[in-house]
Symmetry: none
Subunit: 183 residues, 4 copies
DNA sequence: TATGAATGAGTCTTCATTCAT
DNA sequence: AATGAATGAAGACTCATTCAT
């Protein structure tokens, strides 16, 4: 695969991302992607064998970005950075793959998401424990609180597609997390 | 519509429910429902014009049940009843329409769900305010806390389809809500 | 078949007539007729085995009426009566079965229409010959002129469904026929 | 669309023409056309979205041919050419789209035919006026006579599908028109 | 006679996928 | 690499027709 090929693949992913964000996973067809990219049937199939393959590459990209979050000094700084990132994501619902991810996961691709979820949970547990150690956070059960933080976030993320949010809703999230953690 | 007709319709809904719970909304076809019910194509269409119609009748049933929750004496009793109902629902994921509902809502049927959500939120706000008045609950912001309770629940409900929960996860929910509210 | 039965049949024909006039023969379904008459599927089938059967009975009625035209004294009087009847029919296009008849005839029922046409032609030839004898009409070829009169009429009748006529068009018909025949 | 594509489209039109001529518009299905052309369902739909689309392209071809009739020197020559073309068409009923056109027009596509009819009428009126000027034709009302010529032709054309014509019938048409026009 | 539930065949339409070019 | 024609399977939907009641 030469340089041109990987450029085309990247372009396909970019276009497909928009479609998945808009319509979820199940409703996007190879035909749709042909039309968005301007490629012919055969041309598209040369790069990707189906929507699953495209979507799973998009996800890998997504989550490798999610992993890139770096560590700062204080637990508080890290927390505030994370909250800010989440708030932004919730409000930019037009770019959210939440429906697509959920559909995809429900179609027999649970494993990938279990792994993602476990990773995310570990990160939160880590952070909470660290904050407790540095006396920045309350003494709480890190396992329980990370569950709350994660599923609350998932709930928000999902329904932001459906329910028109004012930014109060996103603010509440940050506030609730702070109340759970800060002294 | 005679007795036989409405029996058949009820049977169709029962079978369709299982399919929607299993595969979500988009993936269920009229053909699937034919096969599950043992009806012919024409026979099914005599009763329902499409999956949308069946699903929306199932939802109406569902939510009219959800509305039937009555009021008890103390805020605490009501809360515990609600938590128990939720816990049960999360663990019985095979009966959950969550994916189907989410897909259906995302397909241009937002209004119905906004209304449902508003109703549920009002119910929680009411309960929280009532608990504060009776000195059973802490002084909190009912709006914010009800958001947390609702979206956390939605997140759990959704991902319970995908992530294998131990009952710790459901217990955490109840515990977190209690911590947010009780003195 | 009791009195009630033949009443129901007559009612079915009346309703079906409207449908055939509106949509032609091919497009009318037994279901349509059920709905128009308010009868159930089984109820309708008890009386008629299909749209063909209904339509052919309607036609028999139609043409037995057409045959009922009586003879008057002078050729001129008879001609004027015929022209008037035709003019009326052309303008009342909403009651015209022309499309339905044409479709029906083209579906393997030619014989019936050939007979009808031959009868009509004979009638005109007769009239023209009679008029020539009584010196009311010009000496023309009755065979040729009756063709003109009949097919011109058919053309008008058909396209009156499609092309919006002013009554000039119908008047022209009468005028042309008069020019062909009168001295 | 490459050369192969437009060849296939032409082939589809050719085959569809035969079917429309044989069965009218309403009775021809995409499946029929698949079978005639030897194309698969998807293959056919790649070129045409439905019978309407195919038929309307066939009509455009038809009538663009009809428009191609050129002007000659004398009114008489032109008239005789026209009559000959018409006579030929009437006798070649197996190639006549008359039923199909009539059905199609009656299904809400009146406009197209009104325009066609108006054009044809204008052409006849022109010719008649020209013939009167050149003293080749009698002084008649061009409007009225063109109506006669056109609707007589339509009537003939239609019923030639149903009634077995001897060529006398077609000859009569020409003769009648001549009698109406020539001195 | 009449009802309306049910059947099954038929048509429409869309897609994933393949393949010759 | 890319095109776009073609396939065939799948699903939606409609109807004529039958049958138990």
């Amino acid at each position: 695969m030469g340089a041109k090929g990987s450029q085309t693949k990247a372009m396909i992913r970019t276009e497909a991302y928009k479609l998945f964000a808009e319509k979820g996973f199940k409703e996007v067809t190879m035909k749709d992607i042909c039309e968005s990219t301007g490629l012919s049937r055969g041309g598209l199939y040369r790069h990707y064998a189906g929507t699953q393959e495209i979507f799973s590459e998009i996800l890998s990209e997504e989550y490798s970005i999610a992993d890139r979050i770096e560590r700062h000094e204080s637990a508080k700084t890290i927390l505030e950075d994370m909250l800010q990132a989440i708030e932004k994501e919730i409000m930019e619902k037009e770019f959210s793959l939440s429906l697509a991810i959920y559909e995809y996961a429900s179609m027999g691709n649970e494993d990938f998401f279990i792994r993602i979820h476990e990773k995310a949970k570990k990160r939160w547990i880590h952070l909470i424990q660290y904050g407790i150690e540095t006396k920045e956070f309350q003494e709480t059960d890190p396992d329980r609180v990370s569950d709350l933080i994660l599923y609350y976030y998932q709930g928000l993320r999902m329904w932001s597609r459906v329910i028109p949010f004012d930014n109060r809703t996103a603010k509440y999230y940050a506030e609730s997390v702070r109340q759970m953690l800060y002294l």
